[in-house]
Subunit: 692 residues, 2 copies
C-alpha cells in the first residue's frame, strides 16, 4: 500500500481496502471466543491459588472448604454471565458498563463506573503480567529471580507493540487461547484418568505442612476468612464484561452470537476453575501467604529461597511430571494467554478514553477515533501506571490482586442496577405481552445480578480494604476528581464562548484590515509571504523588520530597493536585540490608534523534516506568534516554505495516517456514532466532535 505514491490512487485504494478489511473482520463465534475470552479465562491461572492462600491462614485443614468457595464463585460467575447476556441484547450497539450506567443512572454513576474501569485496566495489566511471569518462572527459573525486570519488560514490550499499531487478527488471539484451554482440559482429563486408575499424584509442595497463623478459627472469624477467600476467588470474574463493548464486532445476529459466546466463556471458566481446584486438593498443593515462614518442611520453615509456583503449574507438574513437554507447553500457553489478557487492556483503555472524551470528561482530542496520538497517550499512561504498580508491589500477583476486584464489582453492580432501570423504563411504554414477559424476566435476572454483585462488592471491600483495596479506591477517586474538573472546565469555556442569541450582538464588527509581513532577509520564503499578502487585498500592507544588526538591516534595505518591491518596508529599532517586544509594542500601538481595525500579521515559516531541525528554525517565529495571539484584534498567518527535508516528514505523516488503531478487531467496524438509548445524556455531549 505504501508503494502507491500516486496520491488519489492511494487514497481510493487505501480506503477501499480498509472498508473491505473491516467487513472481513466481523467475527465468527469460533474467533470471537478467543478474542474476548483471554481476559476472563486467563484469571483461571491465578484465582485458585488466591483461594488456597487465604485459606492457609487457618491451616491446611481449611483447604477442604476450597471446592465450596469455587462453587460460590461459579454461582456468581453464572449470575454475571446471565446478567450480561441481557446487556448484550439490550445494547446491540455495544454499550459498555459506562454507557449503561450513564444512560440509566445518570452521569455520576457513569463517571464512577468509568473511574472503576480505568483502575481496572491498569490492574489487569499489572496482575496478568505479574502472574504470567510467575507461570513462566515455573518452567524458566530466570523469571523467578528477575520477576520485576521481566514484568516491566513485558509491559514495555506490549506498550511498544501497541504504539506501533500491530495489525490484529483473530488468529493471534485464537492460538494461545485455544492452546491454553486445550492444555487445561487435557490436564484435567489426564488427572482424572490417573486418579480413576488408582495412580497417586503429588504436587511438588505435597510434602510440606502449613503453619497456621491462626489455627482453630471458629464462628465469625472463620466466616470472615471464608469470605476473604471467596473475594480472592472472584478475581476469576474479571474480563467477563468486556464482551458487552464488543457486540458490533460479531457476525449477525450480533446480539445472539455475543450472548452465546458469553455463555460459552462462562461455562469454560467455571469448568476449568473447578477442575483445577479439585486436582489441587487431590494432589495436595500447599500454598501460604508467606511461604518462607509458613510452609514447613519436616517442621522447619522452607526459608526465603523457596519459590511458590502458581497452583496451575503445581497441578500440571503433578499430572504431567516436572519439566515434561506438556508441562512446559501449558506453562507457556498460560503465560501467553495472560499477556494477551494484559494486551486487551492496552486496547480497552484508549477506547474508554475516547468515549469519555466524547462526553467531555477527558481532553476532546482523545475522541477522534483512529487518531494515533490519542491512542499513544492512553497506551503510555496505562503502561506507566502498571509499571509503577508492578515495581511497588514487586510483581507479586498475590499482593496486586488485593487491589484488583473492587473496580470490577463497582462496574458490575452499577451496570446491573442501571439495567433494572432500563427495563423499568421500557416496561412503562411496552404493551406487547410477550415482549413484556421477556422484559420482566430480564429485569429479574439483572436485579438478581445487581444484588449479588453488590453483595460481593461489599464483601470485597470489607475483607480487603486494609489489604490493599484502598489503593484501588483512592485511584478511582483521583480519576473521578480529575474527570469532573475537566468537564467543569469545558462547560465553563463553552459558556464563555457561546454566541449571543441575537446575531450581531456579540461585538462591534471590525472595519478594516492592516496587514504586516514580517521580514528578516530577502529570501524565497519572504518573497512568497509578500506575494501572498498582496493577493489578500487588505486595506493597507507594509513589511516590518527588526533592526537587530545595523549591517543586516542596511543590506535588507538595499535589496528591497534594488528589487523594486512595492510594499513599504518599516524598520523597528531594538536596542536590546529582542524581536518579540518591538513587534508586540508596534502592533499594540496600531490597535490603540484605530481600535476597530484588525491587524493581520504574515510570518514566513520553514517547514522542516526532522525534529532536530525544528530546534534550528522557527523558534523566534513560534514565540512571537504565541505572544501575538494574546493581543486582541490580531490574526497571525503562517506562510510556509517547504524545505527539501520536509519531504521526509510528509512521508512519515502519510504512514501515520495509514496506521490502524490497536483493538479495532474487538470493536468491530465503524458504525454511526452511538446514539441509541442515550436520550438522558445532555445533547451537547458530542461537542468535542468537530472541534478543531
Amino acid at each position: 500500500m505504501s508503494k502507491l505514491t500516486d496520491l488519489p490512487k492511494r487514497i481510493l485504494i487505501g480506503r477501499a481496502l480498509r472498508s473491505d478489511r473491516l467487513g472481513e473482520t466481523l467475527l465468527p463465534k469460533r474467533l470471537a471466543l478467543p478474542v474476548f475470552a483471554s481476559d476472563s479465562l486467563s484469571s483461571v491461572a491465578y484465582a485458585p491459588g488466591e483461594v488456597l492462600l487465604v485459606l492457609s491462614i487457618a491451616g491446611g485443614a481449611a483447604y477442604h472448604y476450597s471446592p465450596w468457595i469455587v462453587v460460590a464463585v461459579a454461582v456468581v460467575m453464572f449470575t454475571v454471565v446471565a446478567s450480561y447476556r441481557q446487556n448484550v441484547h439490550a445494547y446491540p450497539s455495544g454499550g459498555g458498563d459506562y454507557e449503561v450506567a450513564t444512560t440509566n443512572l445518570g452521569p455520576r454513576a457513569g463517571l464512577t463506573v468509568a473511574s472503576a474501569l480505568m483502575v481496572d485496566y491498569v490492574l489487569t495489566v499489572a496482575v496478568s503480567i505479574a502472574s504470567g511471569i510467575e507461570n513462566l518462572g515455573s518452567a524458566v527459573p530466570f523469571f523467578v529471580t528477575h520477576k520485576v525486570l521481566g514484568a516491566v519488560a513485558v509491559i514495555l514490550l506490549l506498550m511498544v507493540m501497541n504504539l506501533r499499531g500491530v495489525r490484529e487478527s483473530g488468529t493471534i488471539f485464537a492460538i494461545p487461547t485455544y492452546a491454553f484451554v486445550f492444555g487445561v482440559f487435557c490436564m484435567i482429563a489426564w488427572g482424572i484418568l490417573r486418579i480413576a486408575t488408582g495412580h497417586d499424584m503429588a504436587a511438588p509442595t505435597a510434602h510440606l505442612t502449613i503453619h497456621a497463623e491462626s489455627s482453630g478459627l471458629g464462628g465469625f472469624a472463620l466466616v470472615f476468612l471464608l469470605l476473604r477467600a471467596f473475594s480472592s476467588g472472584c478475581a476469576a470474574l474479571t474480563g467477563v464484561e468486556a464482551i458487552s463493548n464488543g457486540v458490533p464486532a460479531f457476525r449477525k445476529p450480533k446480539s445472539k452470537n455475543a450472548a452465546t459466546t458469553l455463555a460459552l466463556i462462562g461455562l469454560l471458566a467455571v469448568t476449568m476453575l473447578l477442575g483445577i481446584i479439585a486436582l489441587a486438593v487431590n494432589t495436595k498443593v500447599r500454598m501460604a501467604e508467606n511461604p518462607a515462614t509458613d510452609l514447613l518442611d519436616h517442621g522447619k520453615p522452607v526459608g526465603a529461597g523457596f519459590t511458590q509456583n502458581p497452583v496451575i503449574a503445581q497441578v500440571a507438574e503433578a499430572v504431567f511430571g516436572h519439566n515434561s513437554i506438556p508441562f512446559i507447553f501449558l506453562a507457556t500457553a498460560t503465560a501467553l494467554v495472560l499477556f494477551l489478557a494484559a494486551n486487551t487492556a492496552y486496547n480497552g483503555f484508549p477506547v474508554l478514553g475516547s468515549i469519555l472524551a466524547q462526553d467531555r470528561y477527558l481532553p476532546r482530542q482523545l475522541h477522534t477515533r483512529g487518531d494515533r496520538l490519542a491512542f499513544s497517550n492512553g497506551i503510555v499512561l496505562l503502561a506507566g501506571f502498571a509499571a509503577i504498580l508492578v515495581v511497588i508491589y514487586g510483581a507479586d500477583s498475590t499482593r496486586l490482586i488485593q487491589l484488583y476486584i473492587v473496580g470490577v464489582f463497582v462496574s458490575f453492580t452499577l451496570s446491573q442496577t442501571g439495567m433494572v432501570r432500563h427495563w423499568n423504563r421500557h416496561l412503562r411504554t411496552e404493551t406487547d405481552p410477550a415482549k413484556r414477559r421477556h422484559m420482566i424476566r430480564s429485569r429479574a435476572i439483572n436485579a438478581f445480578g445487581g444484588f449479588l454483585t453488590g453483595l460481593v462488592l461489599v464483601i470485597v471491600l470489607l475483607t480487603k480494604f486494609t489489604h490493599g483495596a484502598w489503593v484501588a479506591v483512592l485511584g478511582m477517586v483521583i480519576f473521578y476528581a480529575t474527570m469532573t474538573a475537566i468537564r467543569r472546565h469545558y462547560t465553563r469555556v463553552s459558556e464563555e464562548i457561546a454566541a449571543a442569541d441575537e446575531p450581531g450582538e456579540d461585538y462591534v464588527l471590525p472595519s478594516r484590515v492592516h496587514s504586516i509581513v514580517l521580514v528578516s532577509k530577502l529570501h524565497k520564503p519572504t518573497l512568497r509571504a509578500l506575494s501572498y499578502a498582496k493577493l489578500m487585498r487588505s486595506d493597507s500592507l507594509e513589511a516590518l523588520s527588526i533592526n537587530v544588526d545595523p549591517q543586516d538591516t542596511r543590506t535588507l534595505q538595499n535589496e528591497w530597493q534594488n528589487r523594486g518591491i512595492d510594499v513599504p518596508l518599516k524598520i523597528l529599532d531594538s536596542p536590546y536585540r529582542e524581536i518579540t517586544r518591538p513587534v508586540i509594542d508596534y502592533v499594540k500601538g496600531l490597535r490603540r490608534d484605530s481600535p476597530r481595525d484588525v491587524v493581520s500579521i504574515y510570518i514566513p515559516e520553514y517547514v522542516v523534516g526532522h525534529w532536530y531541525e525544528h530546534l534550528l528554525h522557527n523558534q523566534s517565529a513560534l514565540r512571537l506568534k504565541g505572544r501575538l495571539l494574546f493581543t486582541p484584534g490580531v490574526m497571525v498567518t503562517s506562510v510556509p516554505w517547504q524545505l527539501e527535508s520536509s519531504e521526509a516528514a510528509k512521508l512519515r505523516a502519510r504512514r501515520r495516517a495509514d496506521w490502524s488503531a490497536p483493538g479495532s478487531i474487538r470493536r468491530g467496524p465503524v458504525g454511526p456514532p452511538r446514539t441509541a438509548d442515550r436520550e438522558q445524556v445532555t445533547p451537547g455531549a458530542g461537542a468535542g466532535s468537530g472541534q478543531v
Copy 2:
C-alpha cells in the same frame, strides 16, 4: 516597576530605568577586580594541593621541589597576563579567545577554541563546586560524608538562581572575593610572623609519612613527574582569559583599566600561590593521591576513614588553630569564592552560545541577547553536564582537575597565536614608527605567550592524557562536530532559500486566493474568524466543517441558516471520524483544480492561560496546521480567541520580558554588535540576527 500596570508608562519608565542601571554598572576597578577575579583567584584554593599530590608519588622528599614548580607556574601566569593585556588593548570591544582565533586564524581555529571553552565552562562548574564542598568539609564534616549530594545541590541551586535571573551587582562579587583575598593574606602574614618569632606550626597531617609509590625516581621519570606536577599547578591559570570578554564593562579608559585589573589579578594570584605553598612546606602538609593507603601514621596506612583536607584548609588550621574563628572564616570565604567562580561559568556559557549562534554554529534563536529562553537552555545544559561529571567522579576535585587544564590551554595557545597574526596584519599597513614599535613589542609578548602556553599544552596532554584529559578532548571533539553539522545545515538551507538574482524568476506568481474558515460549532471564536476572513476580501470564501457526528452537523447547519450567515457552509464527510485527512484531501483537491490559486485557511484558536489548558484545547488545530503547512500554496491563519484565563499567561509573559539576563554585569552595556576586526569572517555570519 511591576506595580505600574499602565503599559506605555511601564515601558517608558522600565526602559529608562534599565538604561540608567546599565550606565551605573560600568565598573570601577575596585569592583571590576572581584567581578573578574573570582574565577582565577579561587583556583589558588586547589592548585597547591594538586602540586603536592603529584609530588607525593615520589615520596615526601619530593616536596622540596614544590616551590620551584609554583615559581614555574608563576612564570606562565605572568606570561599569560602580559599576553592578555595585549588582547585587551587590541580588542576593546571585548573580543574573547573565540573571536581572536576566528578573526586571525580562521573559523576552524575559532571553533576549536569555542569547543575548548565550552568544555572548560563545564569543568569550571564541576571543579569549583567540588573544591568548594571540600573546603566547606574542612569546617563542617557533614559535607565530607555527603560530597556528591552537596555538590549536586550547589549545582542545582546556582542553576535555579541563574534561571530566575538574579539581578547582579558588583557588591555580590566584591564581598566574598575581598574576604577571601583578605583571609589568605592575613594567613600568610600571620604565618610568616609566627615563623619569624620562632613558633613551630604543624599542619594536621604533619605527623604522617608518605608511602612513596615509586621512591628513588631519577632521570626521565623524575622530570616527567615534575612536569606532571607543573601541569596540575597550571590549574591556577584558569579564569585569566575571562577579562578579555569583559572590556566593555569597564569605565573609561576601558582597555587601560582592564589591563591594570588583569595585572593586579595576576599579581594577587601569584602572591597567594607562593605564600600558601611556602606555608604548606613549612607546616609539613602531607598529601597523597590515595590517602587511605599512601599516608602512613607510625608506619600504618591511615585507612579509608581519613579525610584529606585541602592544603589551604590545612595551612589555615596550622596558622590559626583548628576550628578557630579565622579558620572558619577562611573556609567559608574559600567555599563562597569557589561557588562564585562556578557562577561565572553559568554566565559565560550562554553568552558564548549566543556568539556562536550569531555565527550560525548553534541554533540561531540563542543569538537574541537578553532572551530568557536562550539563556535557560544554556544554563540547564551546563548544569546537566556538570552534574553528570560530579556524579561520575564522586565530586573529587583531584580527579576532575585531570580533565580541566586542556581546554584552557587550547584557547590560550590559539588566542595568542591569533594575536601574532593580528599584529602581523596591522604591521603591514601601519607606518607610524612609534605605533610600529609598540606593535612589535606586543607581537613579541604574544609570540612568547603563544609559545609558552603551547608548550604547557603539550606537557599537559603528555602527562595527563591517560589520567583523564582524554575525556576533555573527547568532549571538545563532540562539541566541534555538532557545531560543524549545525553550521552546514544552516548554509544548506540558506542556499536553498536564496532569492534568485533576477526578480520574478523564482516562481509563477499566484493569481487568486480561495479562503476557507474551519468551523466546528457556531460560537464566538468561529464568528470572529468568519468576520475577519470576510474583511480580507479574498476571491472566494467558504466555511468548512467536518461531519464527525451527524447530530452536531445538523445543529450547525440549522444555526447557520437561522443566523443568516452569508458565507456558504461546506460539510465534508469523515467516515473514520478523522479531522485532518478530509481537510488535507479537500485542500489538495482545490490545489489540483487550480494550481495557480493560493488557499488561505482560517482556524479559530483558543488562547489559554495555563499549560494544562493547552492539553484540553487546540490539539486538533495544531495537528491540522502542522499537516497543512506541508502542502504548497497554502497559508494558515490563526484567529485567536482570548479566554478569560489567558490574562494570567499575559501577565506571566510580561514578567518574563522584564527579566534581566544573568552575567550582564560582566558584559557591560549593550553596544552596537561586534563588528571591529571581523573583516575576515564571512559577511553573512550575522544571518541569524533578525530571523523570525
